[in-house]
């Protein structure tokens, strides 16, 4: 396949991807693959998807020229504003797609995993809009750290199930969602939150997210910028990065994914199989999965979407890591210079650009940052951290 094209029937991206799930789930994965392929080729479905994103999700999100940040860094920086999408991040693109597909497949319920709650809130949102039942699995540790997001989901009519197994965080929420899915796959769709999991999820989620890159490409054209020299996005599972990269993979733009230093599956991981996919994973010498560590819950994942593992392996995209200490600097920098408080996840991308300015990024370089989400959810945490510093 062409880079970031349609994967073959095995759902492989080079040596990564595939489908590593219990037989009980295979029929559902196959059904989903067929249903998605068919829907995505159906102009009526595609139109419904884009109409929903437009009328409900707030798309297109703008590309904002960041004049003051550019001046500060000696670059020409633009931001794709996923923070302005409904529920505050790019997550809505994916869940709108998957819930519409759920309805199309005749299923009445969705389940989802969530870490900090962003994907859970997004799923609950999209489910509420279509009147689908919704259950969200969330690590017990996270339900406590993110009480308000739990309540948000409940307000939206979803049931939140605290997951007490394993490390009781995102990784275990995925496990638990998969276990639940085994029991209810006939009427329930598993609305996974990133470009991960078994085929067709990584492909499907990337396709639902490519609207980011496609829009940005056209918008930068309209702004007279053309193709940027560098496209930067933070990477947890990798959905916002995949979405924006997809719009520029066929251009000379350098693609940079920014991982959290403590969750750097490309930087510190090795190939393995988890959550239904073969990809790069943080694991010990025996193949036991290690816990990721990041101040941003959304990057706190020991794996990465298989397509990113492939893009890294082929060198088409570059993956770098940013430590927790730099992230706060990225967050405050963007806030002060541009009036945009980014999510902690997103602040990784900003922090890398700030670090690379004048070094890896020559003065005057045109950079598109995918502003994957807004920081409102993180303000209390950032406040604690800045106080702790003081």
């Amino acid at each position: 396949m062409s880079t970031m094209g349609t994967p073959g029937a095995r759902g492989r991206f080079g040596e990564f991807g595939g489908r590593f799930v219990p037989e009980a789930l295979m029929p559902a994965c196959l059904e989903l693959e067929g249903a998605f392929a068919e829907a995505w080729a159906d102009p009526a479905f595609v139109a419904e998807f884009h109409d929903t994103l437009r009328l409900f999700g707030g798309r297109p999100t703008p590309v904002t020229p960041l004049a003051r940040l550019s001046e500060r860094l000696g670059l020409r920086v633009y931001a794709k504003r996923e923070d302005l999408a409904h529920t505050g991040s790019h997550k809505i693109n994916n869940v709108v797609g998957q819930t519409l597909l759920t309805r199309r497949m005749g299923k009445r319920r969705v389940i989802a995993e969530t870490g900090a709650g962003q994907h859970g809130v997004a799923t609950a949102t999209a489910a509420a809009r279509l009147g689908l039942e919704c259950t969200v699995f969330m690590g017990e540790v996270d339900t406590k750290r993110q009480e308000l997001n739990v309540f948000r989901m409940e307000l939206l009519g979803a049931r939140v199930v605290p997951v007490a197994s394993g490390s009781r965080t995102l990784k275990d929420a995925v496990n638990e969602a998969l276990r639940e899915w085994v029991t209810c796959v006939a009427d329930t769709h598993y609305c996974i939150g990133s470009v991960m999991g078994p085929h067709p999820f990584p492909w499907m989620v990337r396709e639902f997210q490519r609207v980011i890159g496609d829009e940005a490409r056209a918008q930068l054209e309209d702004l007279g910028v053309g193709v940027p020299e560098v496209v930067v996005a933070c990477v947890g599972g990798g959905s916002n990065a995949a979405g924006v990269f997809a719009g520029f993979v066929d251009t000379p733009a350098r693609l940079v994914g920014v991982e959290a230093a403590g969750g750097s599956a490309i930087g510190h991981g090795s190939p393995g199989v988890l959550h239904g996919m073969r990809s790069m994973l943080l694991q010990d010498e025996y193949g036991q999965i290690e816990e990721a560590q990041s101040i941003s819950a959304g990057l706190d994942y020991p794996g990465i979407g298989p397509e990113h593992a492939h893009l890294a392996a082929t060198g088409r995209a570059q993956y770098v890591a940013v430590g927790d200490d730099e992230v706060l600097g990225g967050l405050t920098l963007l806030s002060e210079t541009e009036g945009i408080i980014p999510a902690l996840e997103t602040a990784h991308a900003v922090a890398w650009v700030a670090r690379a300015a004048g070094r890896e990024l020559a003065p005057g370089t045109t950079v598109l940052i995918n502003l994957s989400g807004r920081g409102d959810k993180d303000v209390a945490q950032v406040r604690e951290m800045l106080r702790g510093d003081a």
Binding site: F20, E23, A24, P27, Y286
Partner: protein, 257 residues
């Protein structure tokens, strides 16, 4: 035909319904003693759990056992070393997840297991679509790849799975992860679907906990797999003798048939 096929065919040919307890290697310091107790209680084979940090096909009981085993430092190598030095007298079938095997390397992992006397392996997250490489390695190394058929498996797929399963076909009695449940769920239907396309032995598992369930299962299946119900006893600290009695109760129920 793998060695496991031979051994299990012999069980069936002996007119016996196979009893396959699932136990987690390393879940307790005395785990070998527990395996021996299961054999003494009448097991025809043992499904040897090799712990994985993220066991997506397992319910809370087996998860807990896996975490205990990992905390105790259990690894593929440590289990193989122990098993290799024993002869439990019944076939051993490893049950673990792809990453444990992939991480070691397929050939090396298969070799290790076989050297330790393990005759088969179940990787519940290895889908039919991803099977080729592992199956080739297993076939070459006389390690039986046991595949699972689920209630959701469509008929044409049952045939393909059954054709590629070695030793026996694992008939999942219900749409669920490992655990205890009541009744046989969809187990009878799943077994019948396998029977329609093949004469290989079919063992029923997933949620089979009591002697009564085992007996009912054996009315249609060639064997039963009992996991969480026994692992629960292990985690609760029951003695090897108690475990042996529990296995024996299952044995007797099967033998009543």
């Amino acid at each position: 035909m793998t060695s496991l096929d031979d051994r299990l065919a012999a069980v069936r040919d002996g007119g016996r319904h196979a009893l396959v307890p699932y136990l987690m290697a390393g879940a307790r310091p005395d785990w070998v003693r527990l395996f021996e107790a299961a054999v003494a209680g009448g097991a025809d084979a043992i499904e040897v759990g090799l712990p994985f940090s993220d066991p997506m096909m397992d319910g809370p009981v087996v998860q807990e056992a896996a975490l205990a085993a990992l905390a105790a430092g259990t690894t593929l190598d440590s289990v193989c070393a122990t098993l290799g030095s024993l002869d439990l007298g019944v076939p051993l079938i490893a049950m673990t997840y792809c990453n444990v095997i992939y991480h070691v390397g397929l050939e090396r992992a298969a070799g290790r297991l076989r050297e330790a006397g393990v005759l088969g392996a179940i990787l519940p997250d290895l889908a039919l679509e991803e099977l080729d490489e592992w199956a080739a390695v297993c076939d070459a190394g006389d390690l039986a790849t046991v595949l699972m058929v689920a209630p959701s498996t469509p008929v044409e797929r049952v045939a393909r799975l059954t054709a590629r399963s070695r030793g026996f076909v694992y008939a999942a009695a219900r749409m669920a992860v490992t655990g205890t449940a009541s009744g046989l769920g969809d187990g009878v239907a799943v077994v019948e679907r396998v029977r329609e396309v093949s004469s290989v032995p079919v063992y029923m598992g997933i949620g089979i906990a009591t002697p009564e369930q085992a007996r009912d299962a054996a009315r249609v299946a060639d064997g039963v797999i009992v996991g969480s119900a026994l692992v629960r006893r292990v985690l609760d600290g029951q003695s090897a003798e108690d475990l042996e009695s529990a296995v024996r109760a299952l044995r007797e129920a099967l033998d009543e048939m």
